[in-house]
């Protein structure tokens, strides 16, 4: 079984400098005009939510062919601007590891898309490499409508080569503002 841990990344970049604005008192007279300047630095912000575990179920003698499962999720990006996702995993590569102390692993491929569906048709992403650029939602909850998806595919032979066991991994999706 492969597991994607629900993750939250909030990336902020501090401004290099913050301009202090001019403010001016009024003078004494029939009228008096003062000025107050406002300044706000908006930093890059992203957030990935609504992630769910991917359960491949069981694969036995009665099963054939490759298996793939996916999940849709929400990516917030301030300004609705662009982002990429860099996937890594707790196993150090795209592979499921056995849980009963056997050394077998099951390799898998990862595909990402900037929409709630369609990841299975996207190009595979290399381990620890940035995906294509997608645009996030300006709402942290994506208005309850996911705007990104992931697809994980395991070739049949990878499964056939594996010792009987339960296999798992934790995918880590790092969202990078562009």
């Amino acid at each position: 079984m492969k597991k994607i841990t629900k993750s939250f990344f909030l990336l902020s970049t501090m401004a290099s400098a913050f301009a202090i604005a001019q403010t001016q008192d009024g003078s004494l007279g029939a009228t008096s005009t003062g000025q107050i300047d406002l300044d706000l630095q908006v930093l890059d912000s992203v957030e990935i939510t609504s992630l769910n575990s991917i359960d491949f179920g069981t694969y036995g003698a009665g099963n054939t062919g490759a298996i793939n499962q996916g999940d849709s999720f929400c990516v917030y990006r301030n300004g609705g601007d662009g982002y990429t996702i860099t996937p890594t995993s707790s196993n150090g590569s795209f592979e499921l590891a056995g849980t009963d102390s056997n050394a077998d692993t099951i390799e898998y491929t990862v595909r990402l898309n900037g929409a709630a569906t369609g990841a299975s048709s996207a190009s595979a992403v290399s381990y620890n490499a940035a995906s294509s650029t997608f645009n996030g939602s300006v709402f942290r909850d994506c208005s309850s409508t996911d705007n990104a998806s992931i697809d994980v595919n395991i070739a049949e032979q990878e499964i056939r080569d594996a010792t009987t066991d339960t296999y798992s991994d934790t995918l880590i999706l790092l969202v990078n503002p562009i």
């Binding site: 003062g34 300047d37 630095q41 601007d81």
Partner: protein, 343 residues
């Protein structure tokens, strides 16, 4: 012969007994009915502007009679003719302008003397066309004078004094005055002179209520990294010498829209973040009032320009979380302008 004279003109009656002197009398009659080179400026009232308190430009005008004729008779015989006249007003002679001086002291200069303009028209002739006068110079535009005392048509000369609002606003409070002379050239010769008389102009500039807004500081809204709303406020001092310290405050911004909404703007892209702006007069018990397109009232400190170190008003800025979340990365700014005036 019988001879009667009035207004300098004589009527001669020739009797039988004096026929032998007819030729001589004809000569005499021709002599006594010779033209009179008459010009006269009649009394012009003083100009009292009263007290001025920030009321824009002011003007006052007085009408009087200027006669210019070949006769002194108010109702002259058919031979009487009216002739042009030119008016002149003299001031202190320092230059071509006319001035009122603080406390009448002609040594004053700068913001202690007020420049005034004399404008002249002949209301029976010029239909409201005014001609500006300059110190010690007769006007270049002549007007047709009336017969003596303007008995036939009424006053003909109107002299207006104009004082510009900017001129008044820039002057020290106090009593200003000046004495001026008015005279006229005219008569059938065009050069007869009536040296006229002097008249007095007075004006009091009162100290208007004053206000001052101070102790203003910039509001640094900090850096936003995607969590929650932002609220910040700035207190300041409002001083007002109006009754009870009352004042009116108009709070605006160049980024404000026609509906009164305020925005922080990222200069590079024009992206905006809407924010709410509220105002509170902490001198009285009142909640923060939303700032829109209308001005608001407050009660300022009317004893200490610096409010004794105790600020008495404040504005508050609130930016909703979603407006911040939706904002693109970058620096956003705005300048809030606070215009205070006595109320």
């Amino acid at each position: 012969m019988c001879r009667s004279c009035k207004y300098g003109e004589c009527t001669v009656t020739i009797t039988k007994q004096s026929r032998k002197w007819f030729v001589a009398l004809l000569f005499l009659a021709g002599t006594v009915s010779a033209q009179t080179d008459h010009v006269e400026v009649r009394t012009l009232a003083d100009y009292a502007f009263g007290t001025y308190i920030s009321a824009g430009s002011v003007q006052l005008e007085n009408d009087h009679c200027v006669s210019s004729a070949n006769s002194l008779n108010p109702n002259p015989p058919k031979s009487g003719q009216r002739y042009p006249y030119r008016l002149g007003v003299t001031g202190d002679g320092s230059d071509s302008s006319y001035y009122l001086y603080l406390d009448g002291n002609t040594a004053e200069t700068g913001n202690r003397r007020v420049t005034i303009r004399f404008m002249h028209t002949d209301i029976l002739e010029d239909a409201g066309m005014y001609h500006e006068l300059f110190d010690s110079t007769y006007e270049t535009h002549s007007h047709l004078g009336q017969f003596r005392n303007c008995v036939q048509n009424g006053s003909n000369s109107r002299l207006r004094i104009e004082i510009n609002a900017d001129e008044l606003a820039a002057k020290t409070s106090g009593n200003y005055s000046g004495t001026f002379g008015i005279s006229s050239l005219g008569g059938y010769s065009g050069t007869a002179l009536d040296p006229g008389f002097s008249f007095f102009v007075s004006l009091t500039i009162a100290s208007a209520s004053e206000v001052q807004i101070s102790a203003l500081d910039a509001i640094n809204l900090g850096s936003y990294a995607g969590n929650g709303s932002i609220t910040a406020s700035e207190s300041f001092c409002v001083y007002s010498t109006a009754l009870n310290g009352a004042y009116n405050i108009a709070i605006t911004s160049t980024n404000q829209d026609a509906s009164g909404n305020f925005f922080l703007v990222k200069d590079a892209t024009g992206a905006k973040i809407n924010y709410a702006l509220t105002f509170v007069d902490s001198s009285v018990q009142q909640p923060y009032l939303e700032v829109g397109t209308s001005s608001l009232s407050g009660v300022g400190n009317n004893t200490a320009v610096d409010c004794g170190g105790q600020n008495n008003a404040a504005i508050a800025v609130n930016i909703q979380e979603q407006a911040l979340l939706a904002a693109e990365t970058g620096t956003f700014s705005d300048s809030i302008v606070l215009l205070v005036q006595p109320e």
